[in-house]
Symmetry: C2
Subunit: 285 residues, 2 copies
Amino acid sequence: MLDLNELEQLVVFARLGTLSMAAQELHISQPTITRTMQHLEETFGVPLFIRGKNRIALNDTGRKAAAQAEQLLETADNILRTVREYDQSRRTISVTSCAPAPLWYVLPALSAAYPQMTIASSLKGIPSIIEDLNAGRCQLAILPDGVQANRFRSAPLLEEHLYVCVPASHALAQHSSLTFSDINGFNFLLRSEIGFWDDMCRVQMPASRFFVQTDEYEFWELAKASSLPYFTTDLADRYLVSLSSRIKIPVTNPEANVTYYIAYRPEHQAYADSIQQISQRDFSL
Amino acid sequence: MLDLNELEQLVVFARLGTLSMAAQELHISQPTITRTMQHLEETFGVPLFIRGKNRIALNDTGRKAAAQAEQLLETADNILRTVREYDQSRRTISVTSCAPAPLWYVLPALSAAYPQMTIASSLKGIPSIIEDLNAGRCQLAILPDGVQANRFRSAPLLEEHLYVCVPASHALAQHSSLTFSDINGFNFLLRSEIGFWDDMCRVQMPASRFFVQTDEYEFWELAKASSLPYFTTDLADRYLVSLSSRIKIPVTNPEANVTYYIAYRPEHQAYADSIQQISQRDFSL
DNA sequence: TATTATTACGTTAGGCGTAAAGATT
DNA sequence: AATCTTTACGCCTAACGTAATAATA
């Protein structure tokens, strides 16, 4: 039977051309690699080398064998990798969400219910999320209402409502509620990594410009130092700091008041259930 | 690094379900296979088994690993086989011919020139011969004139001329030469394994019936015991027995007087040359 | 009680490196 | 002289089988 270690020596020798260089690269002695080549020839049962007194080279058969050995080693490596990855995926719950806020609830719930599992999360656009769910790249997906994911089970998870935050002196501060057409044209401070909210702002407020802040600290400094309006939501207020000096005005468009659904394949019902159970301790829809 | 021996034990265990049955099939002791499974788990670095006190089974990951291992073992076996076959092909000269007579010259010439090589020959139809040459399944091909094999080199090899053999009392015996139309309608004794001659007879003499004899002895007994005409050629007469009681009448159609060409790829020029050289001792075109 | 997996243990075969030899440039 | 392959030799790991243990059906 073939031995992958021996084949690796063959491949390295085929690449480098001399046994001594191969031995050096493989950190083994020259006699070892000599013996290995002899043993390989025995295993194949056919001549693989052209031998001089002081020189050894592959013949046609040997070159063919080395080329095939290289492929075999590669597929063997792939097997190691894929088996390890499969194992890792078995002990990982991947959640893909269209917005950050649901993750603040879902991730703690999952790690409480499955302390031994790795919880992985990512923010993506809605089409990518559907793809991930289809391909099994995630077990749980968080989508806004109105997205049909018929091939999967889904359950309502929680709601999020959008607010505009302005200083009391701001022109908008007089309204008790707002629509996107009211605020279209005003420039806004905006966080990065806010999922589908980003797209929504740009679609609903084409006349506005958005100053996107990657850094949380810098966002707040700008918010304090300027009178620029920014967005918040009920969920963000609950989990993040907010500026007491600002007034919150609800945005009434249906698009700004989202119900999130959790979607999953039947085999992952248990994950979804544990989220519902733990979440119910904290809040209810 | 993976070890194919260990993987084979894994595959057998996956098939049989218990270590002891696997050990029995593999002719090794139970402790050995236990250790191997432990070592495999180390190598993969992930759990492959579900262990009870006196029960062990593959988990999902283990099943995946076993399935992939099975494939790997198969490709490893294929490598062994193909390398051995390649070596064998390197020490074999395969000749494919459209008729038997040229082989009587070519095969002895080749084995004289290359005593250490295996000489393999086969009779085939002309399209198959071209295919074999294209696919490298033969190094030398013997084709009749008029076949264009432009992609290959070729050289005239020898000629063969067809004769009809009849008893002196036979109606055809009065002719000093014949054409296919003269003999069309007469029934003939015919040998099997005569290559393209078989097709030619049936095409040129559609009104005739042919009594094909597989056995050489039976052919001659029938020839002696009957007055049925049969074919011979100058080459056959030179190498095979002939009946002195019969008269030989040449067939004058061009199709019945063939020049054979030897076709080959440039890298096998040497084979063709050695045939020409050795053949020239015996005869010349 | 028979079957199964695992651990313990002693033996041995085989694989490795060092050293040396033979050969080439 | 330097480089390269191969052989010789001694060590030592690691792999195997036997025997024993533990647990189960």
